[in-house]
Amino acid sequence: MIDIIIIGGGIVGASMAYELAKYQLNVTLLEKETELSFGVSKSNSGIIHTGFQDDYNSLKGRLAVRGNFLYREISRLLDFPFIPTGELVVAFPGEKESIEEIKENGDRLGIPGIEIVDGEWLNKNEPMLSKEIEYALLGPTAAVINPWEVIYAMAENAISNGVKIYCDNEVHSIAKINNFWRVKTYQAEYESRYVINAAGLSADKISFMAGIKCPIIIPYKGEEFILDRHADRLTKRIVFPVPKKHTKGILIIPTVDGNTMIGPTSNEVTDKEDITTTKKHKDEVLKAAQKLAPSINEDLLIASFAGLRPTTREGDFYIKEEQNGFINIVGIKSPGLTAAPAIAEYVVNILAENTTLPKKKKYNPKRKSMPRFRLLNTKERNTLIKKDTDFGEVICRCELVTKGEIKEAIRRGARTLDGIKFRTRSQMGRCHGAFCTSKIMAIMSEELEIPFDKITKRGQGSELIKRNEL
């Protein structure tokens, strides 16, 4: 019998798995997509917020501040990049009062180091920003991460501590039978004492399946645009405008990988699968970003994507043990990524109210990151190549990704081209995979022992080719 089933393999589900792996529990995570992070999380902006933009009275405000703190230790243990960029909320003429209010809120949340800086400071430290900006609120604790990288790191650690993770396992029914939950997927059937619902956009659907009311999820679409690395990091810090009522606005985000990202938009949509980008929103993002940094222009755009935020009308996170061991984690939109480790901690505390949670005696606190050939020096590279000559065969020349890394990504669970992309950065460079896609497919075909026509971009239905032979 399973102790806890986690439904959903995004940042919340992965954080839960990572946290619960510390205890003497039999934990299983179910994900409907072919790989973890393929739902809401893969399109996240990757910002670890200070937390000062969320009300000090709200659950999300408190959990974001705590999550920001927890990430520092977790990134060290799990060996993923956590870049402490800091953030700025900038004030154009007439907006100083707004950033003073945010500062006051941040002070109440106990966020360290926040201060208001003036135009002179901005000129010196962020010269690319518009000269019309008069003041900015500086939050030094903000950072950037790659959301999928954190999820894979947490999942790998959890697996090494005995957690079972099953992808391509979409839940279709949940029933309480005596004192356990029966969870059925299209592939299998599970029984568990507890169910933790971390299903993102489908969290309301999952809750209703169990016969439990919860806030309705309203998808809010965000479109983002990535600038070429030739443009370098435009700003050192994440730059926010003064927030509007429901959104933090369109930002400039220096990414972990050295690109600059601009966006996201925020629009309510009806379709939970609507991840289209539009010309209208591209123009909107460009205009808003140019207001912050005038040198941004359309020619610098190299990629775009869209994602959906699982928003609720109520606004705050909804985290609650409903009845008989069903725990809902619903409406985890921004700052959900930041808060995720704190959400996991919070849920463990809920569990601890009704059951004893002894820690594992043998627990592996660590995880080693994938080798990143591009980031190594010559000596390190040669050591790697000596051990395995596949590290001497460059497959993705734009990002200098080797065959050794592609194979390692597959060993760590990559089953799709997107999964390999997220783990290795192959296909993310200037040629967008034009030079390496066939080569990666050949490696996948060999390593996974599947024919070419079974290789997908992101799971069943997204096969790359139509026929194996001409």
Binding site: T277, K282, T402, H432, E463, K466
Partner: protein, 297 residues
């Protein structure tokens, strides 16, 4: 590989690199090294199984593969060192060249460097075409590699965006392999590729070319399901269902090695072939690169 200073290092063993090395060798340059990232010489010619090569240079019409084979012989008949399956990732103003291979990472230096790194295709992402990002979207060159090198069939119902030569060639290639190529969209009021390619690849198979037509949106969740396109003359929009979109919307010289290394040409560092600017004909690439090679001393 022992550390050695070369008179000339040619980066890239495609038609430009081979010709530059051959030209230099025939004018007496001694220690020449070609560094090629693929397992063999020939570059992109190896996936060009169609005719249209060599008429100017070899005075004979041949396929890209035949042209490559013929020129490889010229290189191997000369005293030129060729190292394949190695990727150059850095060059310095002092003309040190670093590359990665299965034997390790090495740095060699040269009196002269010729960059013959070819070009890459512009992609859907660079055009920021609105819509979804399903599978079934390829550059024409990637589709060409899949069909001609790997023997894979990328799709059945095809729309080609852009009238560049590779797109036209792939319109015919996909048709011969049984695909239905609906049409080629071109945003400009004229063909981008060679007229002879339009005649042989589109007209012969009655594939329409729509000039002044723009791709507006790609739809489909997991796989391409349809595209929306607009006639810019009338402003009318239409939707057609398809499972594959091939992009042939221009080529970009691959000079990123220089840009990323923070150096420019001059002082013994040269660009040639499509890495310099994009050529219509390989024959001209060969001639120019040979000439450059001969001028090296």
């Amino acid at each position: 590989m022992n550390y050695k200073k070369y008179d000339l290092i040619v980066i890239g063993g495609g038609p430009a690199g081979m010709a530059a090395a051959a030209g230099a060798s025939s004018s007496g340059v001694k220690d020449i090294l070609i560094l090629e990232r693929m397992p063999g010489l020939g570059g992109i010619l190896n996936q060009c199984i169609h005719l249209g090569f060599g008429l100017e240079y070899f005075k004979k019409e041949m396929t890209g593969t035949e042209y490559a084979a013929r020129y490889k012989k010229i290189v191997y008949d000369k005293d030129i060192e060729v190292k394949t399956s190695c990727l150059v990732h850095k060059i310095t103003p002092e003309k040190n060249v670093s590359f990665v291979s299965r034997d390790g990472e090495f740095t060699v230096s040269a009196k002269n460097i010729i960059m013959a790194t070819g070009c890459r295709e512009r992609t859907r992402e660079m055009l920021t075409v609105p819509g979804t990002r399903p599978s079934g979207i390829f550059t024409a060159g990637l589709a060409q590699e899949m069909v001609n090198i790997y023997g894979l069939m990328p799709g059945h119902e095809v729309v080609i965006v852009g009238s560049g030569d590779i797109g036209l060639i792939m319109a015919r290639r996909m048709t011969l392999e049984g695909a239905k190529v609906h049409f080629v969209l071109e945003i400009l009021d004229h063909l981008s590729g060679l007229i002879r390619n339009k005649v042989q690849c589109l007209d012969d198979f009655k594939i329409p070319l729509y000039l002044e037509h723009e791709l507006m949106e790609i739809t489909g969740k997991n796989r391409v399901e349809a595209i929306r396109y607009r006639d810019n003359k009338t402003g009318r929009e239409k939707v057609i269902s398809c499972d594959t979109v091939l992009f042939s919307v221009g080529l970009i010289p691959e000079q990123d090695l220089l840009i990323d290394s923070g150096i420019t040409t001059g002082n013994g560092i040269f660009l040639t072939g499509n890495a310099d600017y994009v050529h219509d004909l390989v024959d001209n690439v060969t001639k120019e690169a040979e000439k450059l090679g001969r001028s090296i001393n």
